[in-house]
Symmetry: C3
Subunit: 122 residues, 3 copies
């Protein structure tokens, strides 16, 4: 059972990337990291987003994969860690052979740490 | 590893149903969907619930399975997505061969979307 | 698929321990249960903790395993259930053959239930 628990935890943790790592990766020259905001809400509801993120609603992701680049690594996030939307987006990306992670703690955690965000024009 | 991640995400997501799907299913005539409120708290603490839900505390579920119908599909929810109670209830239902899902984002998400709730008489 | 779901839920739930069980175990004479606060924040940010917890930041855990006792059972917690830090700590402990669980609902849930906490001296 311990082996099953350990494997389970390793796989769970392999899906996530934390904000510290994301910030460090983004600061490298020619960073291959790209943040995708996969929230389905319109800009008027979202109001702001992680600085530099690309809006790519989870509901559109499957039909917009041609806009993505297999040399990049994508970090997806939704409002909070409790939703399933980030996992839906991550599954779409991994199934299409993209390198991708879900942002640990989502937008809620990013804001809670007072990390860079930007207002959305409505 | 990607295969392990993809299988893991598919299984995770297969446990949940989102509020949009639940609402659509409930509006069908003779809907087979039934929402179970599995919170263990008394009505005075719960105060309200998802409209039309049946109170079926997780702690009692195992001894009340005879009240359920194998032709139905059950959607369980707890206060928030961060608790384990919904998973405990879901495990009980699936192990007894019922069709069941956990409501994605739980009651907290349902209220956050301003979906129909009803006050509980105390 | 139902078998996969059931196994998945069993493994998920096997990682957690709920506050009721923790409190009952701690009240036994010569309890083998020890609560580890694995938050990485300094005391000035944490401000308080679960009563009787030992501060063992997840970032230091790997290098401080010699301080732990294989006869004990460790319960780790982070700020909320949505973070991955508790799982990181749990993986470290289980991989080193310690008996360990993550506290269901984390510190947020413990405080929400008004269970015993204590202020941290700064």
């Amino acid at each position: 059972m311990e082996k099953a628990k350990i494997d389970f935890l390793k796989t769970t943790l392999s899906l996530y990337i934390d904000h510290t790592t994301v910030l460090a990766k983004l600061q490298q020259p020619n960073s291959e990291f790209v943040i995708l905001d996969v929230r389905n809400a319109p800009a008027a509801i979202k109001k702001d987003q992680i600085k530099g993120a690309i809006a790519m609603p989870a509901k559109d992701l499957g039909s917009r994969l041609s806009e993505l680049d297999h040399r990049k690594t994508y970090v997806v996030y939704d409002w909070t860690a409790g939703t399933t939307l980030g996992k839906v987006a991550l599954l779409t990306l991994l199934s299409a052979d993209f390198k991708a992670y879900e942002l640990s703690c989502a937008l809620e955690g990013w804001k809670g740490m007072h990390l860079p965000i930007e207002a959305l024009s409505i």
